[in-house]
Symmetry: C3
Subunit: 429 residues, 3 copies
């Protein structure tokens, strides 16, 4: 990693540090603030959808406002306090201000008996409920007596917000990146994805030229992608490739989850970039659980969207607990993921399909100075490669296919295809 990367690592870390304390949810002030911070880095349009708007089988939920929340034990000690850790409050809790016995309280308490020191992350988006989340160790020490449960919160009509950064390119064909914004103080899941995608968008903003259009979406999980899809059904066809970015800050091997098709261009390109890195990684087939690929790859859409993460959600012990905090992630780990994403983008940007416009036999390379001037010798290797390219640029093969078929590197194929294009023998399609 060079100094530039070190600097980016610092900035990613700073960004996640700033975002960490915010109490996010699928709607509300925390999301708004998060989008504002993202918008300070990249040009962002905030899409607002009014509560109650029908979204396929769903509807946009009421908005959650949380001001304060604590749970006092019989001695007046706060055993849970939003200000200490926003995981302490059941996300989407309605307001409550009640004295109640331990027995009455217990149904509202959530703990992790097997990880007794950690606060669980729990939600109740689609029901009117309230609750507190505690370390099991604390829970076990609770004495009987009267508790004070106080949550200053409202669930009322408002909006659901999605941040969108659309970077038009030379074609309407889009590459989509999605990172979910609904998790409160959880670092790996998914501040890491938010940070990496934001910096990826920044980098793409600064590119002079983009062949593809890029669309970044930062929105809540599930209802966010559904809402966006429901309002963009007619333009969804432009999304030719996509990647869900999650869990990129905790060190661990990269995992790429394939599209349902397993051989979409994003599948081959992601695999290729991972292979290039040289270190261990894992490629897994599509399954219908996970993050936004669930919606984007549903039968009604079946988009070519894969998912890039490091260790997947259900496979690291800190997942959805207070253990997923800033200590768990680091900037260099995110910077590495950013570089990988940049490599993937570069692959798309440089990936081109060409068509041979002199397909009837071989064109006369010699008159363009491309063939050995003295014949009879073995042709220069570059001539052989040009013949591969000319032969396979038949509308069905892209340069990567040609590289794989001919045994030459993509770089070499690309270089010579460019030359052939300049010579008016190929044209990009």
């Amino acid at each position: 990693m060079n100094n530039g990367d070190g600097e980016i690592a610092s900035r990613l870390e700073k960004f996640t540090n700033e975002l960490f304390p915010i109490c996010r949810s699928i709607t509300g002030q925390g999301v708004r603030e998060t989008l504002r911070r993202i918008g300070a880095e990249v040009p962002l349009r905030t899409l607002s959808y009014t509560s109650g708007t029908p979204v396929f089988d769903w509807e946009v939920p009421p908005e959650w406002t949380i001001n304060d929340a604590f749970l006092e034990d019989p001695n007046g000690q706060r055993v849970a306090d939003l200000r200490t850790n926003n995981l302490h409050v059941l996300n989407y809790s309605v307001g409550v201000d009640k004295k109640l016995s331990l027995e009455e309280l217990k149904p509202h308490l959530h703990t992790l008996p097997e990880q007794p020191e950690l606060i669980p992350y729990r939600t109740a988006y689609y029901q009117r409920n309230w609750g507190f989340c505690l370390p099991h160790a604390v829970y076990q020490r609770l004495s009987s007596g009267t508790y004070h449960a106080y949550i200053d919160a409202e669930v009322k009509p408002g909006v659901l917000e999605i941040g969108e950064c659309f970077l038009p390119g030379e074609t309407e064909d889009e590459v989509l990146f999605y990172a979910h914004t609904c998790h409160p103080s959880l670092a790996n899941d998914n501040l890491s994805g938010i940070a990496v995608s934001t910096w990826l968008a920044k980098w793409l903003c600064n590119k002079e030229k983009r062949r593809f259009s890029y669309r970044f979406l930062w929105g809540p999980g599930t209802i966010g992608s559904l809402t966006w899809l429901a309002h963009h059904q007619h333009s969804v066809a432009n999304i030719k490739h996509g990647l869900v970015l999650v869990l990129l800050g905790r060190p661990g091997t990269f995992h790429y989850k394939q599209t349902p098709f397993a051989d979409a261009p994003i599948d081959r390109i992601a695999a290729r970039c991972l292979r290039k890195r040289g270190d261990e990684h894992e490629i897994r087939p599509f399954d219908p659980y996970g993050y936004e690929e669930r919606q984007l790859c549903s039968p009604g859409f079946r988009l070519n969207v894969g998912r890039l993460s490091r260790v997947p959600h259900d496979e690291y012990p800190e997942y959805h607990t207070s253990g997923d905090n800033l200590d768990l992630i680091d900037g260099r780990t995110m910077a590495e993921a950013l570089v990988l994403c940049q490599q993937i983008v570069d692959e798309f940007e440089t990936r081109e399909c060409f068509i041979n416009i002199e397909p009837f036999g071989e064109p006369k390379l010699g008159k363009r100075g491309l063939y050995n001037s003295i014949g009879g010798r073995a042709p220069a290797e570059r001539v052989e490669i040009m013949l591969w390219i000319l032969n396979l640029c038949d509308g069905n093969h892209d340069l990567m296919d040609i590289a794989e078929r001919s045994g030459y590197t993509l770089e070499t194929i690309r270089e010579l295809a460019t030359e052939l294009t300049e010579r008016s023998l190929l044209k990009p399609i």
Copy 2:
């Protein structure tokens, strides 16, 4: 095997015992009588086709009536007698009443030199001929002198009859079962198939509800299926699945012969039911010789019809001889085959393809009480399975495909698909 099965074994055995003595052929009194007995067990419609009716490249043959037949040696001893064993007469022999020398007689005698104690089963449907079938041991002891060949038979215009039991179901999609009825006193081939199919039809008659329509055909080999096909060309498309039932009474491993497609639903279901049984069995690819699958899978029809037997026709020594008699088969063996057929039917009855009717993203399982009410935890396994089902019920996959893909059992998939259907998220197709 429970008592019920023991009782069914007895009844199957009784049925084959009753049918055994009848001298069947492709037409005539023996078939008529056989269909009458089947009709005593299940609702049967007899389809009659007049001799001479064109049937593709064939025509319905004249009808054969056989009253008596014997061959007396020079000493007046009967060396062949229809009343002793109807295999003694060449099936479809015309009438003869002739004294003739051994040399004149010999071209009309059929034996099995390699199985000298057995009478062969021989036919002459489509030529005017007569003959006797003898054990080769008897043949070798024939002394010279004058023989009396007497066959009281007629081959004259009449009808060809096919028994049909059609059991309508909820859909017009049909499962076809075919057992041939043309063999005289041969037990395994195919009284066993007739018995098993009859009891299968009885069982299906008594089912309260049938998803598929079932069509049982009992008719002669080759000309029977051809005649039926020729007269039902426009409804043949309803036959979605089918099974030819033969050779099910002689103990031996089950053999399933695939359709020409090798991966038709009947192929997968038959294989699955055989695997479930746990004991040895064999699955073979389609070949164009055999029983009615020859016609049903011909290029003009290519129906999804497999064949279920135990040891195939050309692989058991008693095939087409007097050794294929009631001693060779037993009721329990047939009852086992019946159970297997019932399992196959059950698979079809319970096999369902569904379509996700909320295919745009995931439907909101929570509002239907199907999703964890408190979010943030790993979803219940049933939720994961539902996601598999919703994702793959795209019109291309059936539940078995989903089971295989997801690694859950078909039973589990089916249970949750049913639930999703009840919740109006899937509908059967």
Copy 3:
């Protein structure tokens, strides 16, 4: 090899001996003379294309006439002389008559430092240049002083000539054979291909009956096939199969290079004929370098054309040098290749696709005398095979497919398919 083969070997050898001294190029007197000799063996039409005629991305080049050429050293010794070996002159050299120093001369000299005793074969078709080719050993001994470079040659408007032998058959479907004629005194590349193809055409001329039409083309490499293709674009569709014949005189294992489709009939037939020979051979996938398959398999044509050679061009050390001379090849080696080509032709001649014209069930074989007259016995093997044929002659399978599927030999399948055709049950398609 029988006496006949021995005689053919002698005649092939005599033919290559006669052709060897001729100084061929892509145009000119050497080609003309070569085509005249081929025309003495087979009916030949010479197609002439005027210099300057546009040919796709190319144009027909001016014609080269070479009368004499030598290079004298300062002592008046000829270190290169067209009359000694026509490889000494850079093919397509323009005229020169010049005294010049060794340093001035050097850019015009071509040698093979790694094979110092051999003269390289070098060309300059598409530039105005002159040069001499020398053994590197000679080159290294050249002393300084004044050299005399003399080439009596002209490059001026004329014609490009292609020899064509078209042998009409029962159908317009063509099998194409191409051998290039542009190489001067090089024996394996490609007098061997010219000789084998000429004798193959002779043999085909004498066939009483040809199912396919055969087209033999003898023309220069690259510009020859391009010119022919450009002038026959509308009839190219008739070329259903084809084979480029090259490098067949130098002993070595046969190499078959597949079409881009890898499973075209020529691919399967060539592989089959090679397997039949029993000895070692190699089958390689298509690549875009090589001989006329480069043009014939280009994206605009994608003809089913493979290539038959022994050791390929870039894998034998004498390739494109004076080492590729008459000592390198022998008649028996070429005769073997001829036999292989004849076997391939025989496969095409006997290869037939049929359609079952009684596809609805099995046709009545018995009424055509094709089925056992006495039924009940295992069918004759020929009946089983007929059933295979009738079942698989569905328009998608040819007889070789049926042979492979049924396990019977192609010969057997063919014999019975012929019989079924005679019986009006199949018809060729």
